[in-house]
């Protein structure tokens, strides 16, 4: 798209002759104008879109810090790590060059959008009429000739074409004497501008969110009470000197949480629920809400999500009827385990019997299909019930199951359940309303872009030499040329038919596009 100069050119003699303040300002204005014209150019937009795509592509395929552990990245790239790190290849989305691209993209959108706004507005709102000469000089024109009828003024034919365009082809038609201007889909001219303004709002609101929002995490068990100041991990979106957010004074009490499993697939969790009591800063009860995945708790800009569900490391067992709580407190090989000495009633003279419990959790091990524990008996450095080449005697118990060791009759071990903690993600996002508004604007603009603007200019001219009148039509569309041409193919016979009443009516609307 060509850009008309906004500022006077440098060759303007007035600039050369003057050394006043106004002249200096004018020079700056020219410089700014030149700069803006670069910023708003479509070729720059193409380059920026390509580079941004390349940047994101690098971010997808290169391991990114925060997602992959640093030692692993170093091991993978060896000596190349340093220069790749310096280029920001492991932190693409926060690297200086990516942010520079985003800033350039922002300005390109900003200036580009305003550049397109005026032509789009003019094209959509201006009603222009063309003289027959003007239409004939256009490369996109056709005409329909019909016999001159002295009894019927040309105004009747103009009205006929006007009605045809309006009623059969859904154009908005304006008339000036024997000339018509018809258009439809004018709103689509604003589509790109609307979509671009939406992207601008999205970028601005995201930056606002970066300076004011935070994320926090809290691992909680039923009965836990906490306020936002007591979360396990607080992550403002920006480093402290730049962060301008605030932490609201809400207090929470975790009443309960549970996993619901599919009845026909008992090993597959269907949903995770956490019930939370909410109180304000003064301790006044606000509400109780049960959250689950896809159903967070909303408190203004603060949202609490059901993020994870993990074992705390405490297991509830029963040894015969005696309740015991064991804690994962050691490792055997690389596997976490609980090592606890059995109460005296299960000991014999000289023995030091212990229970070793290995938990297997789907939440922690992708190879595990369902949660269970393996329980071993241990006495003075050796497993009981050990046979050469075989795993020592053990019990594999799912929650609620019991078992007895053959080598130790009288001891019935029941695995009640593991203690589970719910992982809550807490997010303060003051920008969310603006982001959603931006989404709506972008979506609206995108839909508007699908449609095309179609314009027709009609003029009637007498041809007394051959006793006809010519209805001249010039046409233009900004996109969807194929559909438009097909519409013109239907319009042509329809116009011919209307203007030549003797022709059959069945061709008036020969095709619908």
């Amino acid at each position: 798209m060509s850009v008309s100069p906004v500022f006077p050119t440098k060759e303007d003699p007035k600039q050369e002759s003057s050394n006043t303040m106004a002249s200096v300002l004018l020079r700056w204005a020219i410089l700014l104008g030149d700069t803006f014209s670069v910023f708003r150019s479509i070729p720059l937009a193409i380059v920026l879109l390509s580079l941004l795509a390349l940047g994101v592509l690098i971010g997808v395929w290169m391991p990114q810090e925060g997602l992959v552990e640093l030692p692993k990245i170093k091991a993978q790239f060896g000596e190349n790590y340093r220069w790749m790190k310096a280029l920001g290849l492991f932190t693409v989305y926060s690297s200086y060059w990516f942010i520079c691209l985003e800033v350039l993209f922002f300005f390109n959108l900003l200036f580009g959008s305003f550049q397109w706004l005026r032509p789009a507005y003019l094209s959509a709102t201006q009603v222009t009429f063309c003289s027959p000469e003007h239409i004939l000089s256009s490369s996109q024109q056709f005409f329909v000739a019909f016999p001159l009828d002295q009894s019927k003024p040309v105004e009747t034919s103009v009205k006929t074409v006007k009605n045809l365009l309006n009623k059969n082809f859904h154009y908005r038609v304006y008339q000036q004497e024997n000339k018509l201007y018809a258009s439809k889909g004018n709103f689509s001219r604003f589509g790109p501008v609307v979509a671009h303004l939406g992207i601008l709002l999205l970028l601005v609101s995201s930056v606002y969110g970066a300076f004011t929002g935070f994320k926090a995490q809290k691992l909680v068990t039923p009965g836990t009470q906490f306020s936002l100041n007591q979360v396990d991990k607080m992550m403002p979106n920006m480093p402290a000197p730049w962060w301008h957010g605030s932490i609201a004074d809400w207090r929470f009490h975790i009443r309960d949480f549970k996993i619901q499993y599919y009845p026909e697939h008992p090993e597959t969790p269907q949903q995770y629920y956490t019930t939370i009591d909410v109180r304000d800063g003064s301790g006044k009860f606000v509400k109780t809400e049960t959250i689950s995945v896809n159903h967070p708790l909303n408190l203004g800009n603060l949202t609490i999500y059901q993020a994870s569900f993990t074992p705390t490391g405490r297991l509830f067992l029963k040894l015969n009827d005696r309740s015991e709580t064991v804690k994962i407190n050691t490792q055997v090989g690389s596997r976490p385990a609980s090592f606890s000495t059995l109460p005296s009633m299960f000991q014999t003279a000289g023995s030091l019997r212990s229970l070793i419990v290995f938990p297997f959790f789907v939440q922690q091990d992708p190879n595990v299909k369902a949660n269970y524990i393996r329980v071993f008996l241990h006495d003075k450095g050796r497993f009981l019930g050990q046979a050469p080449g075989k795993m020592p005697e053990n019990l594999k118990l799912a929650a609620g199951e019991s078992g007895e060791f053959p080598s130790m009759p009288g001891l019935r071990v029941t695995y009640d359940k593991p203690e589970m903690a719910t992982g809550l993600q807490i997010k303060e996002a003051p920008e969310v309303f603006w982001v959603y508004l931006a989404f709506f604007i972008i979506g609206t603009g995108a839909v508007m872009c699908i449609f095309s603007q179609r314009q027709l200019w009609v003029a009637f001219v007498d041809k007394p030499d051959d006793g006809t009148i010519q209805c001249l039509v010039s046409y233009r569309t900004n996109k969807a040329k194929l559909s438009f041409l097909k519409e013109l193919q239907a319009l042509y016979p329809a116009m011919t038919s209307c203007l030549n009443p003797s022709t059959p009516k069945d061709n008036r609307r020969a095709d619908t596009v």
Partner: protein
């Protein structure tokens, strides 16, 4: 097992495959004989076969949804079924509007390959993960898949356009006759648009008739078709990504996480954004535009298959295998 008209979900897929094979052969014959009026019934057969195949796949998906007790669009197999249906639907609409002589057989061939690959994927119905239990799944995923369907048609159209431009440059400017209604000329003689363009007593210029409308340059036709498909797919992808952002904010607490799948979908969007801006700029040849469209499709394939093959990120439930 859920059945309809005595056929199971799998048998409906097989029916769709048979219909696609019939469509392929019909369109191949059409491609060779499109200038011959005696074979006008062949494209009708091809289009009908595509329509039957689409209905069969819709029934299969419906039966699967009944069996699963949720809208069956939760894994690669199901999403590819929807993609194939989307391509079929898009093709049927385009064919109705533009009567494309050479697009039919590449579409049918690609769909046969896609369906063959799809049935090789695990088809077991699994219970939905908690994150997928949302109404957003029924909104976000189909829109994205529909945009992929449009990009698939754009890709095929670009390939045909490139073929015409590189390997048959003489034929690239040859014309494709469109179905043109007979019109009444001013002298009430019934003439066709093609005749009108040849200087009969009409005011229709060459740009409206002849090569531009009645008969379109093949390369231009497919170039324009690519543009329409991208122009329709691009907003769909943008809206799909936005809806995904809304869902992600509800499920994960982030409307954007730079997850590989969403990042790649952004790359695809940017790629097609480049195509559209090149088009608006109007200073680039049809060859460059077609190549950019092909590149955009490559990015889309990486987004759709590549990230899933890796099974990375928050979209890992879409992984293959």
């Amino acid at each position: 097992m859920m059945m309809l008209m005595g056929l199971s979900e799998t048998q409906w897929v097989h029916t769709a495959m048979i219909a696609l094979i019939i469509a392929l052969f019909s369109f191949l014959v059409r491609s060779w004989t499109f200038r011959n009026d005696r074979f006008q019934w062949i494209p009708v057969l091809g289009v009908t076969a595509i329509a039957i195949s689409m209905v069969a796949l819709i029934i299969s998906l419906f039966l699967r949804s009944l069996a699963a007790e949720y809208f069956a669009l939760s894994n690669m197999y199901e999403s590819m079924l929807v993609l194939i249906i989307g391509v079929q639907l898009g093709f049927l609409l385009l064919d109705r509007w533009f009567k494309l002589p050479h697009l039919g057989w590449p579409v049918a061939l690609l769909l046969i390959v896609a369906l063959t690959f799809d049935v090789s994927l695990p088809t077991e119905i699994k219970p939905l993960q908690a994150a997928l239990q949302s109404y957003w799944r029924s909104i976000h995923v189909p829109i994205i898949i529909l945009s992929y369907a449009m990009f698939t048609l754009a890709f095929l159209s670009s390939i045909i356009s490139l073929f015409k431009l590189y390997f048959a440059p003489g034929n690239a400017s040859s014309t494709v006759q469109q179905p043109i209604p007979a019109v009444e000329g001013p002298n009430t003689e019934r003439v066709s648009m093609i005749q009108l363009s040849q200087g009969l007593s009409s005011g229709l210029p060459a740009s409206l008739s002849g090569q531009a409308a009645g008969e379109l340059s093949e390369a231009s036709l497919y170039d324009e078709l690519t543009y329409r498909c991208v122009a329709f797919g691009f907003p769909l992808l943008a809206i799909g990504i936005i809806l995904g952002g809304l869902w992600a904010n509800e499920a994960w607490g982030n409307y954007w996480s730079w997850d590989p799948k969403e990042s790649m979908s952004l790359v695809t969007l940017l790629g097609y954004g480049v195509y559209l801006h090149l088009r608006v700029n109007g200073e680039h040849s049809p060859k460059i535009l077609a190549w950019v469209s092909v590149a955009g499709y490559a990015l889309m394939l990486i987004t759709y298959f590549g990230v899933n093959l890796m099974g990375l990120g928050l979209h890992s439930y879409g992984k293959i295998g």
